[in-house]
């Protein structure tokens, strides 16, 4: 049993190191403290968003903290105000690495509200 565990450890640890080393470097935008810790969000953000989306659209319960709009507000790049514009943009960077297609921004704004408002003025 011990042998098996140590074998597993030997196999896994370099994997974890390797994963960290290859992990995408993201432009986290303003960043700061998220609604949950980073690792939890990496794993669960889609569940929070999906739950929130149904509550908001169908029942009208708007929890600002969990809104996609709020994610964009913090995590859009400070240089181009977007979470999808570049390879290392906050959403795109990770999704590309994980090979998971994001559909959100076919409908939702991928830019900060402020950036879009300024564009209107021009």
């Amino acid at each position: 049993m011990r042998l098996l565990v140590s074998l597993l450890l030997c196999l896994c640890i370099p994997q974890v190191w390797a994963a960290e080393a290859n992990a995408p470097k993201l432009d986290v935008g303003k960043g700061g403290e998220c609604v949950k810790d980073t690792q939890w969000m990496r794993k669960n953000h889609m569940h929070v968003l999906k739950h929130q989306r149904d509550e908001t659209v169908r029942k009208g319960i708007r929890v600002e903290q969990d809104a996609l709009k709020n994610c964009v507000e913090c995590h859009a790049s400070t240089s181009d105000n977007s979470v999808t514009a570049r390879e290392d943009s906050f959403c795109v960077g990770c999704h590309r690495y994980a090979a998971v297609k994001i559909d959100c921004f076919e409908c939702h704004a991928s830019k900060r509200k402020q950036a879009l408002a300024n564009k209107d003025v021009k």
Binding site: E55, R62, V63, E106, C107, H108, L116
Partner: protein, 238 residues
Amino acid sequence: MSEIDTQRRQFLKTSAGAAAIAIAPGMMLYQTAQGDTQAASSTVRWGMLIDTAQCKEGCNDCVSACNKENGLSGKTGATDSQWIRKIEIKDVSSGRALSLPMMCQHCEHPPCVDVCPTQASFKRADGIVLVDRHLCIGCRYCMMACPYKARSFVHETLTDQNPDVPRGKGTVEACSLCVHRIDKGQKPACAEACQNKAILFGDLNDANSDIYKKVRSVASVQIRADLQLNPGVRYQGL
């Protein structure tokens, strides 16, 4: 039971435990949240009363306000989205001409909801009829079912949408009664923009609201009332 087996059980137990913890804080998120966490209430019935006598021919302010608020192009081609349109009508025998805005009538018994195969079309507790674009497959049955021609299909890829009004290719959309504004306690953009005060917005169930009193004191009609859909939008002077 072999040693391996018990270990495996232990492993499964702990991982199930970890999942429970992960879900529990997830749940707590909603209790500690800020923002308007109130659900739409079924005691409310949002509606509009449109005074055709006040609505001016040629005026397009409500339409422009809607386009700006919801990020519509403002084009009126066959494949462009129009959430609200100005209609000019004329009684042939008397020659009396009228101008009025037409949009989703937010029916109490909406045929668009009846025909939707995915339940994307739905009526919120407060009477607002919406499309949940996460579920809409773009079949456009609802467009055919709607007697008011209120819905549009998005034909092209869109960019730079209003963050409050997500909309995109392959889904159907219509007047949302500016649901994102209502949830903030504001009026729909068209009602706010009309300088002639032709659009009165409010809660048809609230005895203290202007619309409740006006609906009870002046003659108003629902368009195609014969269909018995009980629209939330009423017209005065038609």
